[in-house]
Amino acid sequence: MTPRRKRLYVVLAILGGVGAAVALATMASRENIMFYFDPSQVIAGKAPPAKRFRIGGMVVKGSVTRASGDLTVHFVLTDFAHEVPVEYTGVLPDLFREGQGIIAHGTLRGDGEFVADQVLAKHDEKYMPPEVAASLKRSAAARPASEGKGLE
């Protein structure tokens, strides 16, 4: 074996070894790397109880209610399988709206309501001009409601 070939194998072995180690480590700590839990995971009890965690989902249409007098907002988060009610007091980000994906950081109260102290809006990878969005919405309204979801 020439020294050059040997060095090539050493480099490839390092690359393979580090790759395998990182793959195993990330697989083992999958839960910890998760930025947020889905409502289904929270309902199933997979989220840490009595500890702060993040929950992410879509704001259910028509579920946002504001208390008069202060900044408290109530809304329901869904992953289209399960729903979790959320309470939040504070200023909401620009992209917060019904039908939008958001992430709330806080704790789960005993009665099953999530009390958030931070709400982040999650943006999706779709970009379009407002006219296109409006015409898509119009054609979606003409079709059955199940299509065109997420465009509202």
Binding site: V11, M34, A121
Partner: protein
């Protein structure tokens, strides 16, 4: 047939070869970036949700993309230097590191500025953001490791090894938005299937991507020339190159 390929391992040949290409590359990059900036910042329609704030994508996405490209270039060049003991490999790796680190920094800063109004926070320990920050630290590590050893040749080899080890982070950054729940949105352009963007927004973005890429190659060539002069400062060809 292979002589042109072998000549790429010769510092004086590469020094002379890349020099004339630089003005052309810079001109092409200026045209593409100029078009991309005007078309993206002025003529592209605003986004239906983000309004005008989405326009940061024209700087953010190409920078983030180039931060990965530059790292891969650095790691591959380092591996070539390490395995085949080709000096040009180490010189390319040394030249690429600061450029890549700059692109990483631009991506992180523009992302933070966009994140504040859109997400509601400058920074979150999200998988994509965290792995991109690790990339910045990897660049810093590679750059300082090269200088940390007294013997320049050993510094080169150590830095190349660190660059190769760190290259596992590149696919992690790219796929982080798929593998884990993350705050950062998924890929719009760099994926299989139809991109989620109309042509009026996409074309300036692609022009910016190509422009940034050519700009990177131009700066890399320039830095490589300086790096070669520095490394070969005792060689006869450098004295001749400087005299003319």
């Amino acid at each position: 047939m292979w002589t042109w390929f072998y000549r790429l391992a010769s510092p004086p040949y590469v020094y002379g070869f890349v020099g004339p290409a630089i003005p052309w590359l810079l001109a092409a990059a200026a045209c593409l970036i100029g078009y991309g900036l005007v078309a993206g910042l002025v003529f592209a329609p605003p986004d239906y949700q983000q309004g005008d704030a989405f326009r940061i994508i024209y700087v953010h996405a190409p920078s983030a993309w180039l931060s990965l490209c530059a790292y891969t270039t650095m790691a591959v060049a380092g591996a070539i230097g390490l395995v085949w003991r080709i000096k040009i490999g180490f010189a390319v790796a040394a030249a690429a590191a600061p450029i890549g680190a700059s692109f990483t920094l631009v991506a992180l800063v523009t992302g933070a500025l966009w994140g504040r109004p859109m997400w509601g926070t400058y920074w979150a320990w999200d998988p994509r953001l965290t792995s991109e920050l690790i990339l910045l630290f990897l660049y810093f590590g590679v750059m300082s490791l090269r200088r940390a050893l007294d013997d320049a040749a050993r510094g080169d080899r150590a830095a190349a090894l660190l660059a190769i080890v760190g290259v596992v982070n590149v696919p992690i950054i790219h796929f982080s938005v798929q593998w884990w729940n993350s705050l950062h949105q998924g890929a719009t352009v760099m994926k299989f299937g139809k991109s989620q963007m109309p042509g009026s927004m996409l074309l300036p973005l692609l022009a910016m991507l190509c422009g940034f890429m050519i700009f990177f190659v131009a700066v890399l060539c320039q830095r490589l020339r300086a790096e070669l002069l520095m490394r070969e400062r005792l060689a006869v060809w450098v004295r001749e190159a400087i005299r003319t």
